[in-house]
């Protein structure tokens, strides 16, 4: 089999950095492979991907040695644009990567640059619209697309010049489970039907792990290795929930998919133990109360008649499709906007933003403006007329050692924890988080979960919006499901999630609705 991508003793250092981003990397990706690029945040996944199409080092600058061949062409011999007919790249935030306004023109943009014949362009655009099932979007403005649509349009726009290798940087991190599934299915079609080679950097491994046939692990300090998905995931200590389950149960090899896990359980005659106690709903005092909340924009109602009370000690997950009204509801609950109908109260009075309720934004960079992590926390404290407690909160989040570092120099996960520290320093009774774990590795997620649990246990309440079913299954004491702006389910995770075809966590898919997480299941055996 021929190779689509080949790294020969590649080392790379960003300017002004003493450590290696890639160090003596030698590996090959065969043609037609579906490869997962995995590793902790900041371990070099993005750098690796960018080295494949020459953005590293042409675009980033830095010290580069060795050579990278893609479809037999050396990336050092020309700028990335010279490779645009063999390798396509979809960056993490496709919204920022669109060049023109209309979907159809966006699809043609790369081909226009290649000076393709108009007739060929026309045919390719039509084919690609069908291939990614976005024909109905052709006349839309790219700025009005939903997250899942944006991602598929970005993939289509990268594909049209006929590249054989496709690189994607965390394509599903912002998508709801169903939209993520659609994108992965589209990618699989590219691999199976068209024989394309796909390299995909991703943290959400629950679905991806079953699709890929090889993995590339970024181990940190520039070390990158390639191999079978199971081995590599083991090395980077990541994997879908079923893998963690397999490890906890001592199964070898660990399963990668729900189906494999089911089969292994059958073969071993494995029976789970006693059913765990259901998590009891909190009886604490109500800290935030929403009554009949409705809100909308320009005549369309986004949130309809929502009743919701948050009690002390609760960690509530807010789930629902992209566009179900989660963000708007969060803004109402946090006091950022007054609902068009109904009321949101804290302690009997209208909720006050930043005092009764604090909200950690979807992008931590939206609030970070100081030169050090410590100062960032002190900025919040000062806004509330206090001057104490900065070190304590940083230690509680496990980032005390970063207090004097610049937020920009941190990994995405550490930046998020900094934003959380800056938000909770308001000492608000109600903490809201908008998709806090997107793009985070398992380790950072665990740290955040532990912190949020403790924060709620101190008599406060936490509500987080999330698409991450495994995190919700682990962390939430209650799940609120939104659809079309209305609450369609509100209860314990087991009631709301376990039976759902889309929102059920993997453990429940394997062993039935009594167990939601690997820890619950392995705990049942003791």
């Amino acid at each position: 089999m021929t190779e689509a991508v080949r790294f020969e003793d590649v080392s790379f250092q960003y300017l002004e950095r003493s450590d290696f981003a890639l160090r003596h990397v030698s590996l090959a990706v065969p043609e037609g492979a579906f490869a997962l690029v995995c590793g902790a945040t900041g371990a070099g996944k993005s750098t690796f991907l960018r080295a494949v199409n020459g953005l590293v080092p042409h675009f980033t600058g830095g010290i580069f040695s060795g050579r990278v061949l893609v479809e037999g062409r050396n990336t050092l011999e020309g700028a990335p644009r010279e490779l645009s007919d063999v390798v396509a790249f979809v960056p993490q935030d496709p919204g920022a990567s669109f060049v023109v306004d209309r979907v159809e023109d966006e699809l043609a943009y790369a081909m226009e640059n290649l000076a393709m014949a108009p007739a060929t362009m026309r045919r390719r655009v039509e084919e690609t619209l069908d291939l990614l099932d976005i024909e109905r979007l052709r006349d839309r403005s790219v700025r009005t697309l939903s997250g899942g649509e944006r991602q598929r349009v970005a993939i289509a726009a990268a594909l049209t010049p006929g590249a054989k290798v496709l690189l994607l940087d965390e394509p599903t991190s912002q998508l709801d489970p169903q939209a993520a599934e659609d994108v992965l299915a589209a990618l699989q079609r590219l691999v199976h039907d068209l024989g394309m080679t796909v390299l995909l950097a991703e943290h959400r491994l629950d679905r991806v792990a079953g699709f890929v046939d090889m993995a590339i692990g970024c181990l940190g300090q520039g070390r990158v290795i390639a191999g079978g998905p199971a081995d590599i995931l083991e090395r980077v200590q990541a994997g879908p929930a079923v893998s963690r389950l397999g490890r906890l149960l001592g199964w070898s090899p660990v399963p990668l998919t729900v189906r494999q896990a089911r089969r292994m359980a059958q073969q071993r005659g494995f029976k789970p133990g006693r059913v765990p106690q259901p998590r009891t709903p909190s009886q604490g005092p109500v800290l935030l109360e929403a009554k009949g909340v409705s809100a909308g924009y320009e005549g369309t109602v986004v949130v309809k008649n929502v009743d919701l009370s948050l009690r002390a000690g609760e960690v509530v997950a807010l789930m629902g499709r992209n566009g179900a009204g989660k963000s708007t509801l969060l803004r109402c609950l946090g006091g950022l906007r007054r609902p068009d109908g109904g009321s949101v109260t804290a302690g009997g009075a209208e909720v006050e933003a930043g005092r009764d309720a604090a909200l950690c934004p979807q992008t931590p960079e939206d609030i970070l403006f100081k030169d050090t992590v410590g100062e960032e926390v002190r900025a919040t404290l000062q806004a509330h007329g206090r001057n104490d407690g900065a070190p304590k909160i940083l230690d509680a989040l496990g980032i005390g050692h970063l207090a004097t570092r610049h937020p920009r120099d941190l990994s995405a996960g550490e930046r998020l924890l900094t934003a959380v520290a800056a938000t909770v320093s308001t000492d608000a009774q109600v903490l809201l988080l908008d998709e806090p774990t997107r793009g985070l590795d398992g380790h950072t997620k665990e740290r955040l979960s532990r912190f949020l649990r403790g924060y709620a246990a101190e008599g406060r309440t936490v509500l987080f919006a999330s698409h991450d079913v495994e995190l919700v299954a682990e962390l939430a004491t209650r799940v609120v499901m939104l659809a079309g702006g209305e609450v369609i389910a509100d209860g314990a995770p087991r009631e709301v999630m376990a039976g759902s075809p889309v929102f059920a966590p993997q453990t429940a898919r394997v062993f039935g609705s009594d167990w939601l997480t690997p820890e619950e299941l392995s705990g049942s055996l003791e």
Partner: protein, 260 residues
């Protein structure tokens, strides 16, 4: 619709507006602009700025009229009416520009640029798209900071707004530049995908703009009074031909199919 059609229509409507202060001619232009916007608005963020242009237009009328009272000159009925009409003219002009903005895709317009001006045209189009993005970014950051208790209003709090907005803008710019490079931008030779053709609706739209403007141009050369006499103040006259010519500008709203 050919982007050139919108350029000609807007230029025509603007010319009519500039040539007169007579409300009997200005109001039909205002109505035409609004009707064209309603029939042909695109769904992009650019289209949403129409309301901002309208607001600015209303403000112009008010400000221009208030100026009469603030300036150290005699306040007469004539001066007030004159100021009102001049304000109205500016407001109509702003509305016409707002309509152009909401019906024509700036990238579509810039694709008309000859091939060797592709680079500067693209730079201009990207620059145009920065304003709406920055406005969105400012609103987002302001809200995010408010949720941690930092109110942006005092000068001291300005870095809390400016730093995240600028950094996000920089990052977006880098992402865009990367994406453009990876998609072959700047390879030199390029072709054009589905260039818009001068179909019947496009021609009709362009003709409506040019015809309206032509009638008013003729009126100007014939020395037919296009402005209202305010010293002494008299009731403006409306010539049916000119009212009709102003109304012709609304034809694209009814004759040509809308985008969707």
């Amino acid at each position: 619709m050919h982007p050139g059609a919108w350029i000609l229509w807007s230029l025509g409507a603007a010319l009519v507006t500039m040539s007169t202060t007579n409300p009997f001619y200005l109001l039909p232009v205002l109505g035409a602009a609004w009707a064209v916007h309603a029939a042909h608005r695109t769904d992009g963020p650019q289209a949403r700025s129409f309301r901002i242009f309208l607001t600015f237009g209303a403000l112009t009328v008010v400000t221009r009229t208030l100026l009469v009272f603030l300036l150290p000159s005699s306040v007469s009925a004539g001066a007030i009416v004159s100021a009102l009409l001049e304000g109205l003219r500016l407001a109509v002009l702003l509305t016409v520009f707002g309509t152009f903005n909401s019906v024509a895709d700036p990238f579509g317009v810039l694709r008309l640029a000859p091939r060797r001006f592709h680079e500067p045209a693209l730079a201009a189009a990207l620059a145009l798209s920065i304003a709406p993005r920055t406005i969105a970014s400012v609103a987002r950051v302001r809200e995010a900071q408010r949720m941690r208790g930092i109110h942006i209003g005092r000068l001291r709090a300005l870095p809390a707004l400016a730093v995240p907005v600028l950094e996000t803008g920089m990052e977006e710019a880098v992402t865009l530049a990367e994406s453009m490079d990876a998609r072959g931008h700047g390879r030199g030779r390029r072709t054009r995908y589905r260039p818009e053709s001068w179909d019947r609706p496009s021609v009709a739209t362009a003709v409506a703009g040019v015809a309206g403007a032509a009638v008013f141009l003729v009126a100007m050369t014939r020395d037919i009074g296009l402005s209202v006499s305010t010293f002494p103040l008299s009731w403006p006259e409306a010539m049916p031909v000119l009212v009709l010519a102003a109304c012709v500008l609304a034809l694209p709203a009814f004759l040509t199919p809308s985008r969707s």
